[in-house]
Symmetry: C2
Subunit: 193 residues, 2 copies
């Protein structure tokens, strides 16, 4: 009898724990101070890497490229949202994308040509979170440990581009080759893209 | 009395389990068929990303660069070895590095300049494992699910370069900015590098 009661109690405890976990936001999702200030994720370099670019610019102005240093960009996403995307081709609520900008080195050590990544020069984030009126928000950390969501004219270009020119939802999955394969297979690429 | 015995049994079981785990190779370490044929890791895109390069070549021959397409390279390492390196600045036995080569796209979608990563064109690996006479081995998967360790003249250049021109052990940590910071701080950069 004692064993039966113990088994029942343990069973209820596990079921309750799983039910609570299903309702809770993911532990690797966005964390905020002041309600909407995103805390810089401390462990994003252990998150799944989506893709790199070098010298990418969306500015069509002549000379825009020449006047800027060529930077590498790296994009990372929180692990639970990555697993979800690989199964569904969509982003769950509470997804965090971290965008690194790094200087490009060349001709150092044994490298005779080409470029490799060096020091970090900027860190930005995009979040899908229903707490924001638009459902998405953009952040620029600079050297800070937290950042308020970008607003007004600063973010207008981000929103415009991430609405009109993105392959899946508000994200540039066209530049993330392993995700683009999944989105094509599961039919989640936006119509007209 | 029954409770005391149960507690003791559980305690021994946990201690035994931990002791066995400490002696076992990491679950995310190298897996082999035929003793030394490395199985292509199925989940390496969820492993920590170390760095990207574009158009990197170690070939000093004039024109070597011009005659080749500019490829992106991405390097990933198994998670348990990454955690170990961040604490010690050294690689534990059973470390796996995966090296991706990807084509570079440009001027697609909203991107007006610069390059981004597209399809996979080659996959290689380097492993630190005491089962190999040298303690290290190199693999080229091609399109296969497993690969024999490279031998003879094919691997001679790999070994020579990864012995003479690497910042930490046999690895080009000089191209992995987050690791290079750790190696400098913990004093594990090779003398003379």
């Amino acid at each position: 009898m004692k064993t039966t009661i113990l088994t029942l109690v343990l069973g209820y405890a596990v079921a309750f724990s799983l039910a609570v976990r299903a309702q809770q936001p993911p532990a690797d999702g966005p964390h905020y101070t002041n309600g909407t200030h995103l805390v810089r994720p401390s462990d994003y370099r252990e998150w799944p890497f989506l893709g790199s670019g070098l010298g990418m610019t969306y500015d069509p102005a002549p000379g825009a490229q020449a006047s800027r240093p060529q930077l590498f960009t790296n994009v990372f996403v929180n692990p639970s949202s990555h697993r979800s995307f690989m199964q569904t081709g969509k982003w769950p609520d509470k997804t965090v994308f971290v965008l690194e900008f790094r200087n490009a080195g060349s001709e150092a050590s044994i490298n005779k040509a080409g470029r490799f990544q060096t020091d970090l020069v900027a860190l930005e984030a995009e979040v899908k979170d229903s707490r924001f009126p638009d459902g998405w928000a953009f952040f620029n950390f600079g050297n800070r440990d937290q950042a308020a969501p970008l607003t007004g004219s600063v973010v207008a270009a981000c929103i415009d581009c991430h609405t009109k020119h993105t392959a899946v939802e508000r994200t540039v999955v066209q530049f993330y080759p392993t995700l683009m394969e999944v989105a094509r297979r599961l039919g989640t690429v936006k119509p007209g893209f």
